[in-house]
Amino acid sequence: MQIVRTVLQRLAKLVVVVLIVSFLTFLLTKLLPGDLTTTLLGPEASNPAAVAALEAELGLDKPLLTQYWDYISGVVTEGDLGTAYASNNFPVWELLKQRLPATIQLMIMAQVISLAISVPLAMFSAYRANSLADRSITAGAFGLISVPAFAMAVFLVYVFSLQLDLLPALGYKRITGPDGLGANLRSVALPVTVLVAGLTAVYTRLLRSDLIATLQEDFILMARSKGLPTWHILLRHALRPSSFSLLTVFGINFGSLIGGSVILEYFFSIPGVGLLAVESIGKRDYLAVQGVVLLIAVAFVVVNFLVDTLYAVLDPRVRRAGAR
């Protein structure tokens, strides 16, 4: 019963957050100078009759609150995210559907690979804190964090596409496309590498500091004195209590990655959500912007809900606190 109440409470908060974010974005985009009618009409925009006709047609002449209400009630009751008028009248959900696979693939691959690399690296680094190996890893991490994504992207393309001719310089080949999984993996290899570089560096450093702190604890001393092997101590005893910062940042990164990495999408010509958002804002394509924001807000909120739940699972202290 308690759990159901908690979950329902959380769900309610989720919905409220999403609605607030959606409404604020709506207001902000409307506040920007310039509007959808100018994008569509171009020079004809100085003709008030044409502008008025178009605004009436698109429902832009209604009061702001009415416009938002129409929009959100359409979303909730019919799942209708509206039409992207400045993108050839594609339904917004269809645009999102087209763009999500690339973004999700980059996001999941980058996160999983980063975790797979950073956890062992951090454990090794923490175990051998302040050794040469550890200091090199730390320096390396700093280095990677400092290199801007586009610089690394250019470098990787130069080496792997132009010099070695191993990977394509740009483009995204869908898994369902004619060239299958192989082409797909090759097309995402470079952008994922850039993402992984940045994420791994951050995760390694985060986990390493927490692990070092945990390794000072008494219970670790106790485990060592029992004669348990090092890897067992690290993995079974030290990792869990040290993973909370990592988990938090990991969850936050899901939120930001689902917004797509605009620079990488631009550079590698990847049809992702980030570029869609930026282009739609530029065109003042309100409904497309709303759609993307809604997507990001929901994803963010859901992921963080899961992260919170994971805290409760991993940390008995949180479980006990919740039960009181």
Partner: protein, 548 residues
Amino acid sequence: MKETQVRSRWYRLLAVMLGLVLVAAACGGDDDDTASGDDGGSDDSGQETTTTTEEPEGTPVKGGELVFATESDVATIDAGKAAQPSDKVISLGIFDTLTTYVDGEIVPYLAESLEGSEDLTTWTMTLREGVTFHDGTPLNADAVVKHFQRMVDPAYACPCAGSVEIIGSMDTPDGPEGLTVVFTLTGPSVSFPDLLAGSSGYIESPTAVAQLGDQFAQRPVGTGPFKLTEFTPGERVVLEAYEGYWQTDENGIQLPYLDKLTVVPIPDSGQRVAALRTGDIDIFQTADSATVATAEEQGFAAQKISGSSSTIILLNNDKPPFDDVKARQALAYAINKDVINERVYDGVRVPSYSGFALDSPYYNPDAGTPQYDPEKAEELVEELGGLDFTLVCIPTPEADGILQLVKQMGEQVGMNITLETQEQGAYVNRIFSKSGDYEAACFRSSHFIEPDAIRPGLTTDDPGNLVFYSNDEVDQLLEEARQTADVEERKEKYFRVQEITGEEVPLITSLYDLFGNVYNPDKVGPPPPGEPNSLGAIKPGFLYAAGG
């Protein structure tokens, strides 16, 4: 003479400018190209000033598939609306225009013939026989009439509506299934055929429009050499040859030459060249002269198209400081276009002093437009007691370069220039809405072969007049010039207009733009000439894969 006629081509022109602004914004962000400088313009490319290039050499072969990269994603490929060069490459494949330019002369294309009456108000068009749309619908008078009705329908919201409104009424003497349409214009206009050479002249299938409604924009159907088989925004457009296409080349080969053309957007210019090197693409289109130079150094071929547009500085003639002709002249004298050319474009472009292309018969070389003369500029600034103003532009590296140079040049002669940048969406709105909320602003203007194109930009109170210029003599000359077909008479008038604007400087042109189609000569045969009314975009039906 109704206001509507006066809007004629400037809307297309401005739609194209908008497109260029978007293109310029899209291809900004690559410092590596402009900063690397490479070796300067050692080639002769800068001297090309024709709006089209020479005839393609080589023998076209039938068959093959190519990948074409554009600078930005598709904005829209629908009839009347397709404006950016990136869009034109696709739309010129899906649609045919009613008329087109061949060697600088306008000729019927999808139409079999187009005759104007003596007084230029009635135009009789006969369509080609046996032409079908991709969905099998026959091309007939009904399709043409429905097309133009759609162009002016407020629900369709076409930027072309202003110019298409010149059509007062249409008649089909042989009935809707016949091939004749008679247009009665709202006033005499010699430039009516020119209107039909751009995207207002794309004829779309009425059956498809009726079936698809709003969704037609995603699956346009025309009479062109290619059918649209895939359109995934941000990813690619796939065009496949239409077997029922009406046109064959002079050797009897049925067009298009290619079986399939895939168009992909590559926003980053460095990546465009990289993609050409790795073979991910075969040809790309760019407005960035530096990229063209880089690609040529790497051994690729480039078709260069210059003179179809130029960058300009708009001056607000309606309020201080540029309501004073001396201020406008001062700025014009202060700008050294050769230096801008050297520093920003590696000397590859050509300075522009006119609204006409250099090879246009209407170009007046003695118009007296101010050339670089810092002393004169300084004198004028002194007479004015100083000149302070704000110059605004969109934030691309190219614009930045130009702005900084103009500021320096202005300061050298005693001006005080504040630079401002504004994000493209808001900027375009500011200029197009004619709020008058600027003093000096950068922009782009197109040069069409048809000289009447300059009229809306200079005519008093015309919506296309972004600089609020007003001169009665110019208004009259421009109106008269479009009511006669006599080339000598028109030349006289346009020459006089250029003299007046050379004196009054309503705006300042800086350099002719250079567009390039860069390609791998091992994979692609020489491209066809650029289309004058499409910013140099090529008709993809004439593109062919290199033999062997």
